[in-house]
């Protein structure tokens, strides 16, 4: 699988931008589709045919207006005939089923992602749906179906667009970018212990904030300092161990903003006077140094040497004469 993936992925790095925009659009349409007809997607063959016929209607709507395509009016008929390819080119039923399940799980995951966008909870909320999606994609790309049918060639790489692959790789990129792997062990379908522990500590801090929020903020600063610092330390430990995912980063960011900006608990600039005193002392030192070396150090003198010159031609006088 990995070889095939790598091989396929390469050309797409070049126009990544287009791909991403495309994927976004696709994801959006899926999202709206899923909203309206979650149940109907179950059986995809009629669905796909429906969209195919819709396309054809569109073609009909466009074609008559252009005179160039006039002869092709007849081809509408032949297009209908072509709806069934010869046996060996047709996608097997097994694969069609897989594709249907893929679509369903895809829309569920995207749905989940969107709803967990702000505040970011994409890892903790959607790891299950992502696992499902991954599984079905693995089935498509790896496994042999009944009668040694492989859907990899027929679904993933039989056309230029390679839509299924494209769709999946985009979601995979999102997953990688959010570093969810660090918080979630997909094998066990659960959050890691570190993550759970962090959430717990975070909740402690937040509840402490809530408790003292009403009154004076300085009280909050002193009372919640211990839990907040514990949280900070845990966070930096996790940062060192590379066990941070976007969920944790985001929640920590929000907590820090709360702490420093909303409650104003950062350190105050309290030692201006000593710092200025020490600095001016330091700045004063070179002045003393230069003054003392100017006054006490003897000035370096250079002994002049008179070069041997031809006596008949006193060159110095020459210069003087010619320039004065």
């Amino acid at each position: 699988m990995s070889f095939g993936r790598c091989f396929l992925k390469l050309p797409y790095f070049t126009n990544m931008f287009i791909v991403q925009v495309g994927a976004l659009l696709i994801a959006l349409t899926y999202y709206t589709n899923a909203q309206t007809s979650v149940v109907a997607v179950n059986t995809t063959i009629p669905g796909s045919e429906q969209s195919a016929s819709g396309l054809r209607q569109l073609a009909v709507a466009v074609v008559p207006q252009s005179s160039v395509f006039h002869p092709s009016l007849r081809s509408q008929f032949s297009l209908n005939l072509l709806s069934a390819f010869p046996e060996d080119l047709e996608v097997s039923n097994y694969c069609v089923e897989l594709l249907a399940i893929f679509g369903q799980r895809y829309s569920t995951y995207v749905n989940c992602l969107v709803s967990a966008a702000r505040p970011v909870k994409v890892c903790q909320n959607c790891y299950g749906t992502y696992g499902n999606l991954m599984e079905i994609y693995k089935n498509i790309s790896d496994q042999m179906g009944p009668g040694n049918v492989s859907c990899r060639d027929s679904l993933l790489r039989s056309d230029r667009l390679m839509l299924v692959f494209l769709l999946y790789s985009n979601l995979e990129d999102i997953w990688t970018a959010s570093e969810c792997n660090r918080c979630v062990s997909l094998r066990h379908y659960s959050l890691t212990n570190d993550t759970l522990y962090f959430m717990e500590t975070l909740n402690q801090s937040l509840s402490c904030f809530e408790k003292y929020q009403k009154g004076n903020h300085s009280e909050l600063c002193t009372e919640c300092k211990a839990t907040y610092r514990g949280l900070n330390e845990l966070y930096s430990r996790m940062e060192k161990n590379h066990t941070l995912c976007i969920d944790i980063e985001d929640s920590m960011n929000m907590t820090r903003i709360l702490w420093s900006k909303d409650f104003n608990c950062s350190f105050p600039r309290a030692e201006t006077v000593p710092v200025i005193a020490v600095s001016s002392f330091m700045l004063f030192l070179p002045i003393i140094f230069y003054l003392s070396s100017f006054l006490h150090s003897e000035q370096k003198k250079r002994k002049l040497i008179h070069p041997k010159r031809a006596k008949s031609n006193p060159s110095f006088i020459n210069i003087q004469d010619k320039f004065s």
Partner: protein
């Protein structure tokens, strides 16, 4: 009062004056690039087979490869050492600051920082001031002089190299506002001079190889290759390195030499790249061709900025140079004792730390931490959690890293605040100006980069961000053109343009960079000379510029030359020679009309003859060119040779040792003509003869270098003992 009048009035008694720029020091001699074609030389050439010449050519290539390799290795060592030392220092200070931000007592962190800085710098300054003063400064002026043909004492010794490398590590790790490019070029040159000789006099080790290359002409070629390798390791700019050497020594050039130099440059940048990528655990990545790394720039060319940057940069550079000029004069006059120099360097380091700390302390500019941890030592201080003080990125860092973060942090994050930028620039400007010229080994390129870059940036930041990196690239050479301005406008801008283009990896900006360089150079030249030129002058070096002063055609060789010349007979008494040599310590000696012989040659002759005589006349071995080479480059003083009364009466035949065909000019030749001949051929002596071919005088480098164009027309510098 005009100096020449002064001199006339007090002729006879030695006079002492304070040091100034219009002096020529006696301690500098000329290198001899002219081959002495005496009989020994001809004999050797005759003995040498065709194969021998081929071997020489091959060994030249081998040496160049070695030079490149070693230079790259040294650059690599410097980089790694600086990174680790500075890393330890900043880690300690950062821990301390974090601790005291909470409990109070930040002034202690300030003192800790200052003390750490001073300690590093003290180490660097002590080794330079007490062991090898020649390693002070950036080294580029010295190499320029060497390639120009001035023999600067001790400039290409092994000891100098060691002190230079350790010194630059200390001074960069000590947080001074310096770079490590200039020292790199110097190191390359020393490596070249050492490797090409196949021995080390300091270590008393002679490998008995490359003996053919033991003379000024050959050594000089290799030194220029070494300087090129240094440039190429420093900036990752091999072609720029070749052009740098070309500019400095273009008068003695041939195509094969260019090829060899290019080879050395390429090897050097590749070696650095290779070892650094191994060090960074990315073997085969090869992403750091130079010590400074601008990375790649990708943005549109926007012409709006083109015209705005050079002029102010030129003015700024002029101010820098003038300030530094006065400071250097003061230093030479009053801060000349080694312990004072060490103290001064330590003070500068402490003040640098103090100023940086104060800037960071009072800065209100906070930026959120990046996702990729691009800040090496983020300081939070009074910022909100998850943010860091953006002034600290500039100051709490080695200068090189500040440059990198300046170029590479995405727009809108670092250095967003124009106030932060302008403050940083202003402080850094004065710090860099104060630092350059200290008795530590350090370069000026990176500081000028920071100043130039920041200044323009500060002005442009409100205009647009896309142009940001561009404007820096443009501004930078503008500033540097100034500091590094060498001789002709076109020539130095050529190598700088290429260096910048190569360092930024972007050919597209070639034209803008060149235009900016030209403008800045013209603006700057209007006010003051380049920084390196100023320092060369202040060192009283007899430096021969590209051309003789413009209004000097009326001066003839008769007025320029030194006279009378010491003459010997073809066959001379040993006693006479010894007496003459003992009396004059400066002048060189001349065979009457028929040839020229050097003091060093005479000394070697005396030494060997004396030894031979002591043994037996019968087994007398013939003196070969090899004996002269073995003594090169440290010829013993005449005092070390003892000649007995008996030997004084012997006669010595100088015929086969002297150069039978020295260059001569008639005494009516004009100064520019003499100058051209002298410079183009790399001469050390030029004999002046009268119409009957009798020797009347001798023109040396100091006789030519003393004329310069001043405010009152042509002025003459004075010779002085330094």
């Amino acid at each position: 009062m005009h100096p020449s009048l002064l001199q006339d009035s007090v002729r006879g008694c030695p006079k002492e004056i304070p040091h100034n720029e219009k002096l020529l020091s006696l301690k500098y001699e000329s290198l001899d690039y002219d081959n002495s074609e005496n009989q020994l030389f001809l004999e050797e050439e005759r003995r040498m087979s065709f194969l021998g010449f081929k071997c020489l050519e091959i060994s030249r290539w081998v040496i160049c490869g070695l030079i490149g390799f070693l230079t790259g290795l040294i650059a690599c060592c410097i980089d790694i050492a600086v990174e680790n030392l500075a890393g330890v220092k900043y880690y300690v200070v950062k821990q301390n600051i974090e601790k005291f931000t909470e409990v109070g007592g930040l002034s202690i962190s300030l003192i800790l920082w200052a003390v750490l800085n001073s300690a590093f710098v003290m180490l660097g300054a002590v080794i330079v001031a007490f062991f090898e003063p020649g390693a002070a400064g950036s080294g580029i002026p010295q190499i320029k002089c060497y390639l120009n043909g001035v023999k600067i004492p001790r400039v290409v010794r092994l000891k100098t190299l060691v002190v230079k490398v350790c010194g630059v590590i200390c001074s960069v790790a000590g947080g001074l506002a310096v770079g490590k490019e200039g020292p790199m070029i110097h190191s390359g040159a020393v490596v070249a001079a050492g490797v090409s000789q196949g021995r080390s006099t300091s270590l008393k080790k002679d490998f008995k190889i490359f003996e053919y290359f033991r003379r000024d002409t050959e050594k000089r070629d290799f030194v220029s290759a070494g300087a090129a390798a240094g440039v190429s390791a420093a900036f990752g700019a091999p072609v720029g390195g070749v052009l740098f050497s070309l500019e400095e020594g273009a008068s003695f050039w041939n195509q094969m030499l260019t090829w060899r130099i290019f080879f050395a440059s390429m090897i050097s940048t590749f070696t650095l790249n290779f070892f650094l990528s191994i060090y960074n655990n990315k073997p085969g990545d090869l992403s750091s061709p130079g010590l400074i790394n601008f990375g790649r720039f990708e943005s549109d060319v926007s012409v709006c900025l083109l015209l705005s940057s050079p002029k102010p940069c030129g003015l700024l550079g002029a101010l820098f140079n003038i300030l530094n000029y006065w400071l250097t004069i003061f230093r030479i006059r009053y801060v000349h004792r080694p312990c004072l120099q060490v103290m001064e360097a330590m003070l500068v380091a402490a003040v640098t730390a103090t100023v940086s700390f104060a800037m960071i302390y009072f800065s209100n500019d906070c930026q959120p931490l990046g996702p990729d941890q691009s800040e090496d030592y983020p300081l939070q201080l009074f910022c909100a959690d998850g943010e860091y003080n953006s002034m600290a990125t500039a100051f709490f860092n080695t200068p090189e890293r500040s440059v990198r973060s300046l170029f590479h942090n995405p727009p809108g994050r670092l250095f967003y605040n124009p106030l932060t930028l302008s403050l940083f620039t202003l402080t850094y400007f004065f710090l860099a100006c104060w630092t350059y010229g200290l008795t530590v080994s350090a370069g000026v390129f990176i500081p000028s980069l920071l100043i130039g870059a920041h200044r323009t940036l500060a002005r442009l930041v409100s205009i647009m961000f896309v142009c940001r990196s561009l404007s820096q690239v443009w501004a930078v050479p503008g500033k540097y053109a100034f500091n590094g301005s060498c001789r002709g406008i076109v020539r130095m801008t050529l190598s700088l343009t290429v260096i910048m283009v190569e360092a930024t990896g972007n050919v597209t900006y070639g034209l803008p960079i060149m235009l900016v360089l030209l403008t800045a150079k013209i603006v700057g030249d209007y006010f003051v000379e380049g920084l390196y030129d100023i320092h060369i002058k202040l060192q009283s070096v007899p430096f021969l510029h590209l051309e003789a002063p413009a209004t000097s055609h009326w001066l003839t060789a008769r007025e320029v030359m030194g006279a009378p010349v010491t003459c010997f007979n073809r066959i001379e008494k040993v006693g006479t020679i010894v007496d003459v040599l003992s009396n004059t310590s400066t002048n060189h000696n001349l065979g009457k009309i028929c040839g020229l012989i050097l003091r060093s040659q005479l000394i070697v002759l005396l030494k060997h003859k004396v030894r031979e005589l002591a043994r037996s006349r019968l087994t007398q071995r013939k003196l070969q060119l090899k004996d002269f080479r073995d003594a090169y480059p440290r010829f013993p003083p005449i005092q070390s040779i003892h000649v007995s009364q008996d030997e004084r009466e012997c006669m010595m035949d100088l015929t086969e040792f002297m150069n039978p065909t020295p260059y001569t000019v008639p005494q009516e030749t004009s100064l520019p003509r003499v100058f051209k001949l002298f410079r183009a051929l790399g001469l050390r002596h030029l004999v002046v003869v009268d119409s009957e071919n009798r020797v009347v005088g001798l023109v040396t480098r100091k006789d030519l270098a003393r004329y310069h164009l001043g405010k009152h027309g042509l002025e003459e510098m004075q010779l002085a003992q330094t």
